[in-house]
Symmetry: C2
Subunit: 521 residues, 2 copies
């Protein structure tokens, strides 16, 4: 293959050039803290909800493409380069990116300096660890400056990219040694903050984007990196970032390792302040102590690998076809797990701004996931049952933080009820967990609480009571063929692409839903 | 002054360096077609509504700053430069930008080539004209390639920056000689299109951003410009642009002029198609014929200047203080006119995505505008009267295309009613147009139609019936001090910054509204 190859033994895909046709994205994270990361370290992080709890900023459709991320810069005399190629795009002497189960490994070199970057989200902590090992492979002493860089998102990703008269004036930062904390809105109405730290003594930092990047410059040529010196900037208004500077003196053959942590922490209500006006950052300090303890990063990485091996072990085939084995045993399951957990809310094309956890999506995704972690599938079934309405229909999406139905999108996608039946029955066949049918769940639009079996009955009733003139199911607003066949009735600019219209009446029927009925019953 | 000086005779501010602390924006356009343009030709265009009818794409908060616009590139051997400095940021031998009344003039030079760019929106046409005159001031023959570049917005500016799984697949373009038309959604549900053309024979074009800019590149180094050749690209999916290439052979001392037009056209319902599947572009062709006729650009520029002189002539002072004269006679009035017409919907900080025409804003802006074009002030009074509610309160904003109240924002800003009284009385004092009080206008939330005087009475009643415990006016959601004192009651991320809350009850009072009452009565 032109851009890399599979390494089945390590369950990795090895990309051998940074110049892939588009950025190739991996998902780091498991349960709450997620990072999208490309093969050139582009991407962003969020906590649970890609819209409301965005931790770092990302510009979709930027030019050049994929130009926000967690970047490390190395300044070696007059040469500035990134171990992950971007954003400088300085040509590398060597480059490799290993896409693994929940991690990316980069190995690259330039002018006799090798950099290995290991990037992963620990199995059960709300942070991302970014470990870099720099080796002087030359026969000269090297004096290098290492810089880190992330740009903070002001939490609400939609507001962050549109409400500038506000968000140019609200950023708040705090620095304590290498621990750079982002506190925007903490004073007013948040108990959470994000932070970026490194386990090594630093020789400078910046929290002000203008100071680090420079006016009219891009992150391809930050002024601080060019001159080899951060300015220990403050931030009074404008855009908050976190950048560290570390001076490295390396003898020939010598290597040094630094680990960066990007984290999220949420305080209890009555532990918000250390003292008046001083935010309590004990949680961040505690996380740094734990994860920066000697050997811990390696331990966490091994734990991550072990847990992924376990996840993938539930279903393994050994056929004579390498491609089948590779796909079934590694990559398809890996995709299914990520799809189920991230639930299509954030991807390279899905900006994470609009949609939430889908009802139909969850049912579909569950089919490929239920054998891997049945407990999570069970939890999802209960969650989506709670956005069903009393008439058996459902909100089409729910908000991951509140678990409430998404009012903006509403309901009326008439395939949703049947998908619920498909999902629960798949879950039952896989697990034999018939007690789930007795779990009591309240409907979204009433105070009626019934068990899951009743929810299924109401879903079926909704389906069977909404038939069109030919006895086929009414489509409502759409069925799951909505990308091809979405009802468009808006005539005027500014109307929603997907509006209610004639299809919601009693005429328009869905062959897709009918086919689904035939398959299911 | 460090960055330029006032030229009072020409009513211009002359910027002498492209490296201003932030981009300095001028507004081109008068009634429907608007362009924001910076002193380095950054900015964007829209028709009537900055959110729903965005013509060209702009990335707020881009890095580097202000990196979308209408750009001309000159390739002179191995040197590529922009007469407006950006996006290449190639150092210029000379640079000047004259910010005038409804136009920008750029004059710059590099390596013996001078470029003068005149950019304006004609007084009464939905287009922007961009005229460039290139002079060979060297003693050598010059072979230059001139490139133009704009990137289309897919109309709805919010969808355009968020819904990528959709908008990477919907762009449609058509090219006819130098006329490059942008037709996205025209087939489905629009009758309008935008276009970019030049009055000169072209030697190449591009409509596909990837072809022109190149993968992983920025518009600072488009691959087509670097190699000196467009590729006459098609667009099947991806992002649509319009770029022209013009070869110029210039003898020493010789000069050539080209004029580009960026336009908007809307067909009648039954004139949408020239023939099946072929959009009717007669309107665009007609505009090109008219405005590219010999001498017409000069005529239009003179007309623009004459009309602006007339607008500013209604109120002129001749004091002994140059600064007072300059501010009162030129710049303050210019600002007031722009503010009234654009109504703060789009600026360097206001992304044009969210807000619409404000009720309070209109009343305030009218105070500084009513003496200039009373007819427009009258029309605005009738428009905002129609978003008043029967109880005398009002929607806080209306949508410029439909003139309907903005449901998302709603009402409850309790200073709005008094502002209506302030605006109408200012209008009456300026014009003596008492017949306006008899104009009949229907309320937004009922079928009741009453005259303007009744609207004023209801506004006053609303004010006087909503007093708090101290007899001061209830604030409702906010008064016009909302940037300092906005009521924030949301506790959880994801809630609106400006939510309804306790202030909407009968307790919270507004000293601002009370002071306003004292001033008015």
């Amino acid at each position: 293959m032109k851009y890399g190859y599979f390494d089945d033994k390590n369950k990795e895909y090895v990309i051998t050039t940074p110049k892939t046709p588009t950025p190739w994205i991996n998902y780091l994270g498991n349960h709450s803290f997620y990072s999208l990361i490309s093969n050139t370290s582009g991407g962003y992080s969020y906590f649970c909800d890609a819209k409301f709890m965005r931790i770092t900023r990302y510009r979709y459709n930027s030019l050049p493409l994929d130009m926000d991320g967690k970047y490390l810069y190395i300044k070696d005399q007059d040469t500035v380069w990134n171990p992950t190629f971007k954003p400088t795009q300085t040509e590398l002497d060597d480059y490799e990116c290993r896409i693994g189960m929940g991690y990316n490994l980069f190995r690259s070199s330039k002018n006799g300096v090798e950099a290995c970057v290991r990037d992963f989200v620990p199995w059960d902590a709300p942070c991302e660890l970014q470990e870099i090992t720099i080796t002087n492979q030359s026969d000269q002493e090297k004096d290098l400056e290492l810089f880190s860089y992330v740009e903070w998102c002001l939490w609400n990703a939609v507001d962050d990219m549109s409400n500038f008269q506000r968000n140019l004036n609200i950023a708040e930062m705090m620095v304590e040694d290498s621990l750079i904390c982002h506190f925007t809105e903490y004073r007013e109405r948040r108990r959470h903050y994000s932070f970026y730290a490194v386990d090594t003594a630093i020789h400078g930092y910046d929290v002000n984007r203008d100071s680090f990047v420079g006016n009219y410059r891009s992150i391809a040529v930050p002024v601080a990196v060019e001159r080899g010196k951060c300015s220990n900037s403050n931030l009074v208004d404008g855009y908050p970032i976190a950048a560290h500077q570390i001076h490295l003196h390396l003898m020939p053959g010598e290597k040094k390792t630094c680990t960066f942590m990007l984290g999220y922490a949420k305080n209890k209500k009555d532990e918000k302040w250390e003292r008046e006006g001083k935010a309590n950052i004990c949680l961040a300090r505690q996380m740094l102590r734990e994860y920066f303890a000697p050997g811990r990063v390696e331990e966490e990485f091994e734990k991550l690998q072990k847990n992924w091996r376990e996840l993938l072990s539930h279903y393994q085939v050994q056929s004579k076809n390498t491609h089948v084995n590779r796909m079934v045993n590694i990559w398809n399951q890996y995709q299914c797990i990520t799809t189920f957990r991230v639930c299509r809310t954030a991807s390279y094309y899905e900006s994470g701004l609009g949609r939430q956890i889908g009802f139909r999506d969850s049912c579909q995704d569950l089919l490929g996931f239920v054998h891997i972690v049945p407990e999570e599938a069970r939890e999802r079934i209960l969650n989506i049952a709670s956005i069903q309405k009393e008439d058996g229909s459902a909100y089409h999406q729910y908000q991951p933080l509140t678990k409430k139905g998404n009012m903006d999108v509403g309901g009326g996608f008439n395939d949703d009820p049947l998908w619920f039946l498909a999902a629960v029955s798949a879950y039952l066949r896989e697990t034999g967990d018939f007690p789930i049918l007795k779990e009591m769940v309240t409907y979204a639009d009433s105070k009626v609480t019934e068990n899951i079996l009743d929810h299924m009955r109401r879903a079926f009733s909704y389906f069977s009571e909404h038939l069109g003139p030919h006895g086929l199911p009414q489509i409502g607003r759409a069925d799951w063929n909505d990308c091809l066949n979405l009802n468009c009735f808006s005539q005027e600019p500014g109307e929603s692409f997907q509006v209610t219209g004639p299809s919601e009446g009693k005429i328009a029927e869905s062959v897709y839903i009918a086919g689904m009925y035939v398959k299911l019953f």
